[in-house]
């Protein structure tokens, strides 16, 4: 029988086929392994229940903070100041647990802390960043609106100057951590600028009168993560709450660029978890008298998954090295977000099939990851939007607006 013939083509490590660990230094490996251990101990055992109940244990924020995972690639103000690669690897490990955990860390660090760090005043940085790095203050990021998603420049939320204050009105939709946040970074157009190009970011304490957050129920994806609608009715804030460093769409877009970087690593964590579950299952599940891993059809699935996971990690590491060298362009980040998330979704769906009926239960991680990745596919720029970014980057032609509009 062929199975008993010697392995004439050599063997490979199913968990690190390309020896990508060899591309990491000792410090990167220790950081990666530390987060992996945390995820194994603290997230994996309970995440199925969180997903089922539609909750994320917000108390975990201080543990994540103690490890330095919040705002981890930012310098100063109680942040870790780790490298981009270290941050990316942490995202991979968190998302191998659940996309909800990675989203929590992405939103806190890249979407809520980053704008304060990059565009805030010294007082704002001192006031908020150390407590946010420690996980004592939770932030959210309000850009998307009910009628403004892929085209955030069309936002309707306005900020109107009233004496020394600002008065904000509008609604934000699909906001991760909205109802559990202590502060919201809210992006609003300046009512005084009729062109609509002046966009301000505000640090809005969520106990400010006129601010309300309502959770979005009945999600089938990213259930171990809170998603909310924010309603702002005559929310009055002093000018000291406005981020002074930016007043165009560059503000929110640069935050998204940071978060997408984490996602292109993170998605491969979810993909890896699915591949490993499928590999393990295929080796132990017997049908027609053999483990299903012995069928050529199954082997093809496992190999396709393994190849995509390794390729995606290689891409992520390459982009991470570019970022650490200060050479990563936002279009290159789009490349990573576009390709790694769609490949992760492909891997998750394929793994789902390998597990048969077990693939649809929360006893295995696969359908949870598969459903989560549908959100990851959509947020931080949909697949289509990143395609248009790359299309414009290589042709020089902007195709965001339909012909004739």
């Amino acid at each position: 029988m062929s199975a008993s013939q010697p392995n004439q083509f050599g063997t490979g490590d199913p968990h690190d086929f390309l020896d990508l660990d060899g591309l990491l230094n000792d410090e990167e490996l220790l950081g990666r392994d530390t987060v992996r251990r945390f995820v194994t101990d603290r997230i994996v055992p309970d995440v199925g229940t969180w997903f089922e109940q539609g909750t994320f244990p917000v108390e975990m924020a201080t543990d994540l903070g103690a490890m330095g995972l919040l705002g981890m690639h930012l310098e100063g103000y109680g942040c870790s100041g780790a490298s981009a690669v270290a941050y990316g690897l942490a995202c991979t490990e968190l998302e191998a647990g659940d996309s909800g955990a990675r989203s929590f860390v992405s939103v806190q660090g890249s979407l809520a802390m980053f704008p304060i760090w990059a565009f805030g005043s010294e007082e704002q940085k001192q006031q908020w960043l150390p407590a946010m790095a420690a996980g004592e203050v939770i932030g959210c990021f309000g850009l998307t609106e009910p009628d403004s998603g892929s085209d955030p420049g069309s936002m309707r939320t306005t900020a109107r100057r009233d004496g020394d204050d600002w008065v904000i009105n509008g609604a934000k939709m699909w906001i991760t951590n909205g109802s559990v946040a202590n502060i919201a970074i809210v992006w609003a157009r300046d009512a005084a600028d009729e062109t609509g190009r002046t966009i301000h970011g505000f640090i809005v304490p969520t106990d400010t009168p006129g601010f309300a957050a309502h959770d979005i129920p009945r999600k089938m994806s990213l259930r171990a993560s809170v998603t909310s609608e924010l309603v702002l009715t005559d929310v009055r804030l002093p000018d000291a709450a406005r981020l002074p460093g930016v007043s165009t769409m560059r503000g929110p877009l640069s935050c998204l660029n940071e978060a997408r970087f984490g996602i292109l690593f993170g998605a491969m964590g979810a993909a890896r978890a699915c591949y490993e579950a499928a590999l393990d299952y295929a080796g132990s599940r017997t049908q027609f008298g053999t483990p299903i891993a012995a069928f050529q059809l199954t082997q093809r699935k496992l190999v396709e998954m393994m190849v995509r996971v390794n390729r995606g990690m290689l891409l992520a590491l390459h982009l991470g090295r570019l970022k650490d060298a200060g050479q990563l362009s936002s279009a290159q980040v789009s490349f990573g977000k576009l390709d790694n998330v769609r490949e992760a979704l492909w891997v998750a769906r394929e793994a789902r099939g390998v597990l048969g009926a077990n693939g649809i239960t929360l006893e295995y991680p696969v359908i949870r990851h598969m459903n989560n990745l549908e959100s990851v596919f959509t947020y931080e720029g949909t697949n289509e939007i990143h395609t248009l970014v790359l299309g414009q980057a290589i042709t020089g032609i902007n195709a965001f607006n339909a012909p004739g509009t």
């Binding site: 000792d26 410090e27 220790l30 950081g31 530390t34 251990r37 945390f38 103690a66 490890m67 330095g68 995972l69 981890m72 870790s80 100041g81 780790a82 270290a86 942490a90």
Partner: protein, 260 residues
Amino acid sequence: MNIVVCAKQIPDPAEPGALDPQTKTLKRDGKLILDESDMYGVEMALQLAEAAGGGEVTLVSMAPDNKVDGLRSGLAMGAAKAVLVSDPALAGTDALGTAKVLAAAIGKVDGAQLVLTATESSDGYTGTVPEQIAAILGMPSITFAKSIEVRDGTVYVKRQTDAGYDEVECPLPCVVSVTAGVVEPRYPSFKGIMAAKSKPLDQLTLADTGVDAGSVGWGGGGQEIVGIEDAPAREAGEIFEDDGSGVDKIVAYLENLKIV
């Protein structure tokens, strides 16, 4: 108060271990990690130093091939410095030899008043090294600590027993072995991980320790491993249909084993 923690670096228990048929010992040529059993000691030492409002935690280890990954984990958790003894001449050293080397290394740590170890390592688990270290250093030893407090030069230990715990106290300096699972070892922070690479890590050879080369290594042990064999496969159990006489059969079986 300065505290020394013995930190054994062992092959990752998650990877399938292998015995070297030539030396009849565990292969240790791959990556070594900090033995989880010793993480409790590191955590306790850090807590004690914090409670004392100062003092350094020093890690001491003996390992092959100058391996330091496990020590870096302990430094990332917060230990101040580490001492590693590594020397080809130490290959094959038995538990007593290990204790001699560790005791010599501990002797080089300034002002070490408390030495913490695990009760047994995860890979060798002879559980003999701590008391041997204490004997060599001429210090009292307390085993199976579930909690440790230090006040005015005296260490107060709750010592785990089958029935509960004993309260034991003894003067410093002393050696205390810490039971696994009694504290929650912190996860290293990223700041700690980045700081770890610039913390002092002294690498000593056998000669540096002053331990007699004849008392360690393959030749130095008072023991020889004459053979290694796979554990015999367990025989299938006996199956009885319960026809009403089940209880009698169980009692007879246990009587036969002299359990009842």
